[in-house]
Point group: C4
């Protein structure tokens, strides 16, 4: 399963046509609602099956390492530039800074697809998201590179699982590097774990084959841990495997 | 907002006239009550709008690093020297070592200004200060350089907030270097965060402009964190953003 | 007391005949039940007095240090190769991956010996083992080298002791290097501590004499700690000696 | 106040005559009761005003650093050698390994002096000591050099204070190097803190004057901390000054 970002080098249509696998569309909400509508409609038309609304990335964080290193993003393509007539293409980079639940509802209204909210770290926010009709909650601290000293997503997971986990899809990302990390996230109540950097590392080292190799290894390690720990299937990976820190 | 110390190189009058911004007067309580009265009356007359009584600095701590480095304070001016006839100028450096609640009440009696007690680390002391009419409680461990192994002010904050925070102004200082630190202090219940060293660093590096730059950066970082965390305004920075350490 | 592994360089008969001391037989459960029966019957016939069923080693873990170092196990002997006619010797290395409580019960049925389950880290599993007739529970994380980030066996011990400790033999291994470690494990409720690596270190350094020396030292240290701590005998080593981490 | 050890280079009589200050006699209980009686009677006769019975030093611990360095104690004098006719002087080095409450009671019976038990780390033991008539409990882990991984005495203090602190003298030693350490021990409920190594360091560096200097500094630091923390006297150093570790 691939989750395509609205901020990408290739257009979402190019990405969608590259693979027949399941895919979701992740939107950094633009300030211009017409452009938002365009992106959502194009996602639906390209075959994406869910909309992920990122709510913890509505402004740039100060990424000082990048500034110090003097790195700038390579610009390889036109991405998802504006196509709607009448929308000023120059405003397409502006993010909506006052996101509210109507903006989230708008995604479902336009596409009819399930909406997943990404960047949640508290149970209170997860409960509100579910009330507003979100089909899933994506627990994430944006790779730990947005706000200093944020809680690890995996630490924020348990209260969220307790609050909404029974009926809502819970995704978690952050620090998943090994099959053990997947096992641990599932044991803490996540339904799905997302990975970011490992895939990029794999791509940098071996292209498409490198990416396949990363997934193959994660899967093999998860199976090994399940076998050694005595979990016969994914459903058997429960909180019983978590040992609280205590003497 | 500037808080001028009674132990300063310039006189409080010179400091007051340098800026039209709001300012408070912070008093290291002198042993001589006539001199105390003089300082308080001069503060009132110079336009300071609150009196801060520091209660955790009634003697010198052993600052061994300074001793080892052989540093002594530069003496750039006459400061707030005695002006009241009949008060021995040589005693102006003597601090009152047996501060009590009458001394605190005296500040309000002389000036009619709100009194804030500085250097509080326990809820019990905060409760007593409020009972004695203090308008605010300044939670501080004196920059961590007075007593070894003192609790961080920010750790001491929650029980104090719980005890008196609803009706009393709570200020906290210590370790505030980033907008994130301000956010965290506010989330833990402080109304105001004070900064000391960053301002001096700014001044050392860029004079008045350096100081402005420090404040501008703190403000920009705070706004960025609020935006990323989803707090629309200062009131929205609540304890919900604090993640307790637990598996 | 020696616990012989089913995966050994010498056959269990050779090992049994080397010493008149008490010995248990530890079985890595083979996939072929006829071969399992053979191993169990031979163990009984050779004088082993209990069967230890290892349940956390049903597949190979990825031991990356070994892979990096390019080490392979020396092969010094035929071990416990298949002797039962009709069992394909080439399948003797295959472990049963879907171990269940019938497999455990089978050990007792074949041998009539007490069965101890090894590789338990949760109270829930320990309770189930006791229900299924196990005489003992061996708390172990397989030397910490099977699954990354497993709880230390000694941390997993207290809830297991609380759940089944009163009537069931509790063995613990992992990190026992000093008499103090034995003392601590007993204080936390274990009946027996097992040691692995120290014995191998002793053997590598001084052969049989080295092994004796390791045991002698462990015993002397345990006696010293008991004397200094004021525990007159093994029964007096109780939870009272454990200090919880708290201010 | 000086506490003289029964294992000393000078005799207790020489030590007693060197100073008119208050002094206690600390006994490493000898195996021979006649010799124990002799030591106790001589202590009483020499003007010691209390007996300290050390219960956590009834055998030698393995002090590996000393062994590695090849250090042996210098032998400067005859110490408290046997004087009672009929007691074999060669047995004077043998310690009683099965100390019991009768041995403790014996100290009071022989001398009529208050008896303090030294080397206690649990509330249970402290309660028993008080039941058996001990006037004081000395919380100590023998300088951390007897048993590895022992709790710090200061960590063991709170439950002991809670159990017997109201009516029993509580002494604590271990790690007291600064006035702050004294303050902390008193805040945690100790009545007295004992120091060992700092005194020896002072003696090594400056003889009698060095020792005086160590005490003078400890006292000055304690006074400074009390002044800065706002404790007007020793009684005011309470648990309120202790901040529990919590977010």
């Amino acid at each position: 399963m691939f989750v395509a970002s609205s901020v990408s080098h290739l257009s979402m249509e190019e990405i969608a046509s590259a693979s027949s696998g399941p895919k979701w569309f992740q939107i950094y909400y633009p300030a211009n609602r017409d452009y938002a509508r365009e992106l959502l409609q194009r996602a639906k038309a390209s075959g994406y099956t869910a909309i992920v609304v990122t709510v913890d990335g509505t402004t740039f964080s100060n990424r000082e390492r990048i500034t110090r290193l003097g790195i700038s993003s390579p610009n390889l393509g036109a991405g998802n530039g504006v196509r709607t007539p009448g929308v000023d293409a120059r405003t397409s980079g502006e993010l909506k800074v006052d996101l509210n639940w109507d903006d989230v509802a708008f995604c479902e209204k336009v596409t009819g697809l399930p909406v997943i909210i990404k960047g949640i770290l508290t149970a209170a926010m997860a409960v509100e998201a579910v009330k507003c009709g979100c089909a899933g909650v994506w627990v994430s601290n944006h790779g730990g590179r947005a706000i200093d000293n944020t809680a690890a997503a995996v630490s924020a997971l348990p209260p969220i699982v307790q609050a909404v986990g029974e009926k809502t899809l819970i995704i978690v990302d952050g620090g998943v590097r090994r099959g053990q990390d997947v096992f641990r996230a599932l044991a803490l109540g996540a339904d799905v774990t997302a990975v970011g950097r490992p895939v990029l590392y794999g791509m940098a080292l071996g292209g498409a084959q490198g990416v396949q190799s990363v997934y193959a290894r994660l899967k093999a390690e998860l199976q090994m841990v399940m076998q050694l720990a005595g979990a016969a299937n994914i459903e058997a990976i429960t909180r019983d495997f978590i040992q609280e820190l205590k003497a």
